[in-house]
Symmetry: C2
Subunit: 207 residues, 2 copies
Amino acid sequence: KLPEATVLRLGLYQRVLAEFARARRTTISSDELGRHTGENPANVRKDLSRLGTLGTRGTGYDVGTIAARIDEVFATSTPRRVVVVGLGNLGRALVRSRSFFQQGFEVAALFDSSPAVVGTTVAGHVVQPMESVTPEVEALGARFGVLTVPPEAAQDAVERLVRGGVGYIVNFAPKLLQVETTVVVRYVDLSIELQMLGYVEAQGLRS
Amino acid sequence: KLPEATVLRLGLYQRVLAEFARARRTTISSDELGRHTGENPANVRKDLSRLGTLGTRGTGYDVGTIAARIDEVFATSTPRRVVVVGLGNLGRALVRSRSFFQQGFEVAALFDSSPAVVGTTVAGHVVQPMESVTPEVEALGARFGVLTVPPEAAQDAVERLVRGGVGYIVNFAPKLLQVETTVVVRYVDLSIELQMLGYVEAQGLRS
Ligand SMILES: NC(=O)c1ccc[n+]([C@@H]2O[C@H](COP(=O)([O-])OP(=O)(O)OC[C@H]3O[C@@H](n4cnc5c(N)ncnc54)[C@H](O)[C@@H]3O)[C@@H](O)[C@H]2O)c1
Ligand SMILES: NC(=O)c1ccc[n+]([C@@H]2O[C@H](COP(=O)([O-])OP(=O)(O)OC[C@H]3O[C@@H](n4cnc5c(N)ncnc54)[C@H](O)[C@@H]3O)[C@@H](O)[C@H]2O)c1
């Protein structure tokens, strides 16, 4: 099992490797990978050696080899169905974003409670009412859910998802969810990014 | 200087401590802090000892003391002006969110290039055109910027911000920015959250 910080970095490397591959570049150095992700090149080398991929002094790493190795870690070959609950500003931005659902994840269904939203089409999917969450998730075999609802709606939404079989949730609502221990919830708080910059500024640091 | 992973965790603890304070709870254990942030309680104890705050066995830590200590780390007492460029789905979600601009950060100005957006009011601010970015940022003394524009617009937007004196940027657009070495950019890629869950599922792990 890799440490979480390493897995997060591997996700960042994967983006850069995809850009390099698109630009038909076949090798990359740990310095380049570090510069493009804001990571320390020594960390880059340590991370890649954990995967068993080794670079050659002078030419660096083979882009295709590392990308394939990282794909294995994330097991991105199996398509994974994701449902999104709450199609307000944030939900729409995520569903419409080319880069949020990548690496094998695909949007399977959208749900909302507002009569003004239900029945409309967002990024090619018709938004369904909340009563459909549990039966639809079950029928789709979706294991992943994204919550972009107001905080007071988050607990109800997660219960409907879990009842249908969802076991992995990305939650953007600032609300602690009560779920069974088998359910994995990742809380996302975007303000942490600003705060991190505030820390860097306060310490007079370079990044 | 604290490691970045610690600083990120401190930001998460701060949210939980604020909730505890609101609920008039005066003490918290490392287990509770760990459970509410998805962190390992041993990491919690290690992080807090780095701040010089020690808990007492049996009762835990004093909520007020740790919260104040973390505020010092982030120097949240100085108000920091932030400008946002790109008021589409994501930009609106961030500007309207009560929780994105907290801990001393305040929205100072909003900019967009679309005639349909310029002149409208979002969360109490009139959206200004791109020609105003540099002079306005200078006049405000804003040091922080958030980019929620399409990737092809990101480089132009960042140049206008930096020319006005912005030195710290949160970039949501999937685009590598060319900036001077003194400018600090944090790239945010929300898909990493889904990918992390994909990794946990693939490894059959518990979080
Ligand atoms: N921490 C951060 O950095 C941050 C930033 C932005 C947004 N957020 C959070 O993300 C969430 C979404 O934000 P937003 O700006 O898109 O909000 P929004 O109000 O634009 O959208 C919320 C959507 O949820 C739907 N909804 C409301 N109640 C519901 C219910 N009971 N069941 C299902 N759907 C319901 C609404 O109809 C709406 O479409 C909020 O919880 C917000 O706090 C957090
Ligand atoms: N990686 C992720 O997980 C993720 C998720 C969501 C969004 N995003 C990214 O965030 C960005 C914003 O996404 P969105 O859904 O809000 O897009 P959007 O199209 O809804 O909004 C973009 C806004 O930028 C404005 N704009 C366009 N060109 C501009 C220019 N040259 N100068 C200034 N403003 C300009 C538009 O008028 C619009 O208001 C995109 O780059 C998107 O890829 C990334």
